[in-house]
Amino acid sequence: MKSTSIRRAIVPGIAALALVFSACGADNEGDGSTDGDGGGSSSLAGELNGGGASSQEAAQGAWIVGFQDENPDVTVNYDPVGSGGGRESFISGAFPFAGSDAYLTDDEGELTAATERCEGSAPIEIPNYISPIAIIYNVEGVDDLNLSPATLAGIFAGKITKWNAEEIAADNPDATLPDADINPVHRSDESGTTENFTDYLDAVAGDVWTEGALEVWPQQYGGEGAQGTSGVVSAVGSGTNAIGYADASQAGDLGVANIGVGEDFVAPTPEAAAKILEVSPRVEGRDANSIVFDLDHETQEAGTYPIVLTSYLIACPSYPAGDEGELAKAYLGYIVSEAGQEQGAAEAGSAPLSEELRTEVAGIVDAIQVG
């Protein structure tokens, strides 16, 4: 009979599966309680699920590893659902914290909704991840490249098409530039990197770059599209005479252009990137817990790298008693701690917050009330 023959197959099957599952978790996934001597002395335990901007994904991965090292009984998950998805899930209460490339505004009522979600108090918004966006290129015989803002905009807007164009030559009097077509590579997906980059172009060369700040690359400007940061890096690396923009941490062996700021050309070092938050004005009219910036791309300040992606953490100033609040507070505290910022710099190549800003931000996290 069919049912019995199926039963005959299923019962031992389930038994075998159960045996397999109960017998072994992954080798590296200890059973929390038994592995408790792994270094941490904390009493924290449980699971914390946040998510948001995918720009933070690598850094969050590093922070999670670092945090779980200190608190072996804790599992943290960061869902790279995108900034919009992160904010949405934070407001709906699914995430106790979210990462976002943009701060909350009331253009679509998000700030109000988030305030409601935090039971009437304005949400915490703090910068936690700063990453310089490097202009990477792969041109034979060119080891050092300087680009002024207008030239950069011209290249990516498809108006400068040859590597030996006079604009580029003017920026690089000493370089031998080949007579070759420029292959500009951009992100084909929507991304905060593209938004920050186009925001910069719009600010510094609005007459050349006329499309404004966009999350999705305007296709009329042409160029090769590539998926994700890794896609851009590999497209530039494997293409000839290519140029693209990507998180500096992922530039690898590719050439990195110096960008014109004032009289100088500045390389995308972490220090130069972190500096932009010092010279940029804070957005006015925000709650005390909200430290957000409108980046001053036009800065003339020496040694400041102007093309930077800033990402924020969004959280509530108070949580109801329970694991979730405790964990969120502890995890956010770790991220903005000195160790956390170092971990991010070492493993994900982000630029650590300046000490002054870090202390201020850490103070806000420290003031989160649980219970």
Partner: protein
Amino acid sequence: MATTEPTGVIDTETSTKRGDAVFAGLARSAGILIMVALAGVGIFLLVEGAPAISASGEQAYGKDNIVLFVWPLLYGTLLAALIAMIIATPLAVGVALVISHYAPRRVARSLGYLIDLLAAVPSVVYGLWGRAVLAPAILPVYQWLSETLGWLPFFEGPATTGRTILTASIVLAVMALPIITAICREVFAQTPRMHEEAALALGATRWEMIRMTVFPYARSGVISAVMLGLGRALGETMAVAMVLSVSGLVTINLVSGQNPSTIAANIALNFGNASGTKINVLIFSGLVLFVVSFAVNFLGRWIASRGQVKA
């Protein structure tokens, strides 16, 4: 499944009837469930895709309305699938002929199995292969094409990357090949033996025999095979998503770094990061894909079933 007590051969009349009725009902409802599921696919996509119709601007990925968003993707989907068919069809017919008519019978089985193995490779592995192996290997060919045949709009170039729509189409062709081959093989093998032998007896060479007896007989079968292969190529996601460099342009330039994307690949690449109305926009494009591939498959099966009636 059995809900009545099995009572051996001497069933009472009522329990027999009940058993039969229950079993028949179960079987029938399973059949109906399949129809419901298919309808469900359409309905749920429609429900979740509907809010996209009013989407514009940021929500529609920077496009003014949903049509402008879907059109370039649809174009890319059709273009990639079409090129894939142009590549795959002659190959598949040739391979099917080898298996059905050229190879010695003993070898033919193993050859058929080899082709089936092509179908067994998961699409994500094809994507990995296309991205890491095929694209770099084929770049010199594209550069040569754009240099020598650059006056053709298809090969205008500039060839700066191997990850073009032509590469994606080649991968799609490889993936659709086994399907087309399998069906062609079947129809070729169904050619009446008598026709073939009559042709040979009249002194025809093997090729003349194939041209005069096999092809006329198999025409509708081959057409339906191509339609089904097209259906596969239209909906294939991962291979395209991993291989193609996308810029969303509508172009017939096949070897440049600026390529249209396909609906399926676009969904796969953007879904994880989408929120709010953007999800509806992507689902709506999925609905378009569903309708197109349903129509193509429908047509393919219809032609196939008509061919069978004729035979």
